[in-house]
Amino acid sequence: MDTIYIERAVKDHPQTVRIVQRYPDARKILIDRYTAVFNVNTQNFRLQKQNPALILAEKHDTKVLTAPPDYNIGGKHNYYFSHMMNCIYDCRYCFLQGMYNSANYVVFVNYQDFFDAITETTNRHTEPSWYFSGYDCDSLALEPVTLFMDACLNYFSTHAKAHLEIRTKSTQIRSLLKRDPIDNCVIAYSLTPDPIARAVEHKTPSVQKRIEALKSLSEAGWKIGLRFDPLLNAEAFKTTYQTLFDTVFDQLDTDTIHSVSTGPFRLPKPFFKKLVKLYPEEPLLADKFTQQGSLISYPVDDENDQMAWCEEQLLQHIDPDRFFPCV
């Protein structure tokens, strides 16, 4: 990180001071609002990804948002939040490339405001609420810098009615292994067949490393989740995914798995168009796609076949009550 933009309002915030200290050689540039850097519309996400800057900002507006209707792992009230925008990984299918103008990382340092918003949301319901982290970023990838998840787990450890899913591809789990697991938290890993991951999930830990991280977490008593989302088309789809499922379930104790979910590859049309413009040479994006409403996806029949076949395979390993297709 050779450039850090800092909102003037948070320049003396303890998280800002701590994070900035990690980068003594970085140039520090004071700004009024992160949007002046992040939202500029002539930026090139692909080029910026080569050398992203860090932006430290304050989250002003809504901190907790309602999750899409079918997005759940058994809970009735589902929400998501993002303490960060953008990701250190570079997955070619990622919707963030289509959503943001900039590849710079924005970290919102007012962590406590997120926790206050979660408390307020949880108190609206009598049943437990679920909170998904890792929607606009990878939950753990920048954890050594942000320490957000550490603070988050401190919060959730004292709020049993609020449940947390930490969605990640990162193997930065040292801080998790150092602490006692908490019952209302699931650490969920996104998994893609190894050959596909190698081709399209740039800068991510290998699938085997992710499985090893899952194993370590489960042995330490953490609830773990498997997320086969998005399902990506390939020449030998069934063989490729069968190998992944066999590899995963050979190494993990299925009793320790809290939930397994699948999801199709779908993107809003403007996001998809932007991805194609950024990466016209990408085979993943050169496949056959159709428009369903405002979304671009694989043809409906193909998508249904992929989802159904994966469900059939996964239910050979886990109980139906732990399987959640997110469509």
Partner: protein, 327 residues
Amino acid sequence: MRLVARLTAIAVDRVLRTAPTTWQPVMVSLGSVPVSVGISRYPGQALRGIIPVMLPFIVIVAALPAEATPLKTHWNLSPTGDTAYRSWHNDDMLLVESGIGKCNAAAATASALTGIINAGIAAKRIICINHGIGGGLYDLGTMVTAHAINDDATGQTWYPSLTFKPSGATATVVCVDAPASDYTADTAFDMESSGFYSAARRFVGAEFIHCFKTISDNPDHDITTINKARVIDLVQGSLASLTQSIDRLVALHATAFDTADIEAMVNTIKENMHLTRTHGHQLRRLLERHQALHGALPTTATLLDLKRASVLISTLTQQLDGSVPRY
């Protein structure tokens, strides 16, 4: 500029390898200003038949004759004959002398960019630079790169995208309407940057618009002592830093996806078959998909055999829709 020359040679060579042997490398000019490097089946003729090669074209805006002269000499630039703003060029660069002040800088920048874009140079090929003298708390002759540009009169601030690694220090460049000498840390004064930047960003991508200021006055060297000879000396002294930064921008530019081969093929088809604008867009994307899924473009002869645009589009679509990414 050696890098630009090398890239030019590589790109032209690459296109020529796929083109008929009778085609020739050409330079397209607008008046006496070269605007495009390409290959043509009609050497020496107008734009029709020219295949653009995705090379950077560098536009430098300098305010004063003394700031422009060392650049003109260094790159061996020839006069363009433009009467509105004095300007000079070589194969891959245009140098414009704007005159003093942000209004002049904005007008000269817009005029130069409009001219070369209208003449056929795609905006995505342009690297746009403002180089000149400025005052600040730096050693005399130091070249600083603007990490922020602040218009002193309006308070508006822009943040150039530092995706490339600038050579040397970076600073907030404060654009003033009259010479100023109340120097502060990490800041340089100039009189053109905000006009230049606000005009250039209407044409060129954020990663490729930058301001470089060579320090001409500081507390030890009063602003009133600046004269033409000193400016020439200072600009000459900063040429190594300027060249290094330009080389880095050119290297960054080279990482963008190069569409030259595809454009060449679309142009060839256009010359032999009636293509509507929509057909052109469809064909361009189909060729990108072909390259992504099969690792190569189809041969021109195969496409021309299909005779009609609608048949060509439907045949290619059908063929590609039956292809699946291989991992």
